[in-house]
């Protein structure tokens, strides 16, 4: 059944469609067609030198599940996310709470903590690589140790995680500070009158009132961590023995698709990644409904 549109509604519809068209075409060509093509490619075997695709069904997925390298990269990526997200957010929360008051130098601190956020990750990674250097690095000199921070597989992943946390602190802190400033002051006043301790107000007012923002940060943080790409291979050599213990899934995707030109396999890896991120996003949103306090 068609409703008759007035002339005004018709012009509105016309303009709406005209204005949304560039974005719509862009999304279809640059994003939605690629999703379909990636899924199709993941079902194909790519010929030598990346030429020619033969449909093989789920072969690439079966290979990926059997491939110890894929398994290892998954473990590395999860390990990175599980360590960096909670630690990073806890430190940022402490900093945000400390900064959430009238004080001298607030802008100064904010500017400094935010600094890594505006730097090319490649540059940041290069400096840390130099500081981690075993023979001449600043860290070994300062601690008087002789540890191969980025050559020893058992500590290398922690060293990468440290850089990840360091880089993201300021960004999370600024978001949390924004959330803290939205909490009405009278809640704290009432708590003070009731004689609540600082500890109590933090867990009974600050955390619940901040929970929507905390969840947002946890969610974007986990998704961001699962898509880690540049830090590991810039901090250490890809030829290093330790690299296999930090190589993330996106690097494996890049390597398979663009260095070995094995696009079908690369596409399968990225589809698996998409599914995992999808499941995690869904799970987090279910938890959000349970735990987050909305005013």
């Amino acid at each position: 059944m068609k409703r008759k549109l007035t002339r005004k509604q018709k012009t509105e519809a016309k303009w709406g469609l005209i204005m949304v068209t560039p974005t719509l075409i862009g999304l279809l060509v640059l994003n939605f067609y690629p999703i379909v093509q990636t899924i199709y490619l993941s079902l194909c075997k790519t010929g030598d030198f990346g030429i020619g695709n033969v449909f093989i069904g789920f072969g690439n997925y079966i290979d990926a599940f059997k491939d110890p390298e894929v398994f290892q990269a998954m473990i590395n990526t999860f390990k990175y996310a599980i360590v960096t997200v909670p630690i990073g957010i806890s430190i940022s929360l402490v900093l945000a709470v400390l900064l959430n008051r009238k004080m001298k130098g607030r802008t100064f601190y904010r500017t400094i903590y935010f600094l890594p956020m505006i730097c090319a990750p490649a540059a940041v990674a290069m400096v840390w690589r130099w500081m981690y250097n075993m023979d001449f690095g600043l860290i070994n000199h300062a601690l008087g140790t002789n540890t191969g921070w980025i050559t020893d597989p058992s500590v290398a992943w922690i060293c990468v995680a440290v850089v990840g946390i360091w880089s993201g602190l300021g960004y999370n802190m600024v978001l949390l500070l924004g959330g803290l400033q939205d909490i009405p002051k009278d809640y704290y006043e009432a708590a003070t009158i009731d004689g609540a301790s600082g500890f109590h107000t933090f867990f009974n007012i600050t955390i619940p009132m901040l929970s929507p923002m905390l969840f947002f940060i946890i969610q974007t943080g986990i998704i961001g961590a699962l898509q880690l790409f540049d830090l590991p291979f810039m901090i250490m050599d890809t030829t290093s023995r330790a690299f296999s213990s930090v190589k993330p899934i996106t690097y494996l995707f890049y390597e398979q698709s663009f260095i070995y030109s094995n696009r079908g396999y690369g596409a399968a890896i990225v589809v698996v990644m998409l599914v995992i991120i999808g499941i995690i996003t869904f799970a987090i949103q279910r938890l959000e409904k349970k735990w987050v306090f909305y005013n």
Partner: protein
């Protein structure tokens, strides 16, 4: 202990913690700059705390890296990519955001659903087909390749839709009574009011483009066509352990964005705090 002394001690402790944190944040930057002015021998000398390089500061590292990597071209490529991406993102997103936020038209909900889906999908999934398209057009190693995935933005469309929705509708109604058509209402009245969302989007787009490594590494393998971020990976491959030269390259890559940040510090931080981007 009096109330005043107690608050003063608390303030001191807080400043102490924050200053320690600030030092930790700054050390890598300080170390980067100091190393960039040393000779190779000085950089691996026994005492790394011998901070001021013997005699004078070395500028040679900068000129060597500058010449062997043609940083002028890298700056130009990066700047042009950022400008084009910001212009494209702001133009397409402001129109689509206005349409989705304030107009009624067929398939509006479906189109908005597409925007949301694109935001939720990790961008790596688009990369192989996008690469195949660029290479099919014969545009690898060009400025077009660098712009290509940034021509439209789902995140920006969403951000601006939110921005337009919060504007009061009376303004638009008044303009309508005065005889403005939809385009005039959008262009003359609403768009200037959504400026702060557009500034946020511009900052995000610029930062994202500047930091992105994977895409330029894939489509611009030629070092005269690539961006600063991707060139650093090559630099590291070439100068492997010549840290003073690597650090000189890193300093040169970081400085432009750092200057912009220090100038527009407030917009950067507030843009992110108010809209919570997806960087």
């Amino acid at each position: 202990m009096g109330y005043q002394t107690k608050t003063r001690i608390t303030a001191l402790v807080i400043h102490g913690i924050l200053i320690c944190g600030a030092i930790i944040m700054m050390i890598p930057f300080i170390w980067m700059v100091l190393t960039a002015f040393k000779t190779r021998g000085q950089s691996i000398s026994v005492d790394p705390f011998y901070i001021f390089p013997n005699g004078s500061w070395q500028f040679g590292n900068f000129s060597q890296v500058w010449n062997s990597y043609n940083f002028l071209t890298l700056y130009f490529n990066t700047l042009l990519m950022i400008l084009l991406r910001v212009i494209f993102a702001c133009l397409t997103a402001t129109m689509a955001g206005y349409a989705l936020g304030r107009l009624n038209f067929p398939f509006k909900r479906l189109i908005f659903a597409l925007v949301l889906i694109q935001m939720m999908v990790p961008s790596q999934i688009f990369i192989i087909p996008q690469y195949l398209m660029v290479s099919g057009l014969g545009m690898l190693n060009t400025q077009f390749a660098l712009l290509f995935p940034g021509m439209v933005t789902a995140f920006g469309t969403y951000l601006l839709k939110q921005g337009y929705q919060t504007l009061p509708k009376e303004l638009e109604e008044a303009a309508e009574i005065d005889g403005c058509n939809i385009w005039q209402r959008f262009y003359k009245i609403m768009m200037p009011l959504a400026r702060s969302s557009m500034v946020s989007l511009g900052i995000f787009t610029a930062l994202f483009a500047y930091k992105d490594m994977m895409w330029p590494m894939i489509v611009c393998t030629n070092s005269s066509a690539t961006t600063l971020a991707a060139a650093l990976a090559k630099l590291q491959g070439q100068f492997t352990s010549n840290y003073p030269q690597l650090m000189a390259g890193a300093v040169m890559a970081v400085i432009p964005m750092l200057m912009i940040y220090l100038f527009f510090q407030k917009q950067f931080v507030e843009g992110i705090a108010t809209s919570g981007g997806k960087l």
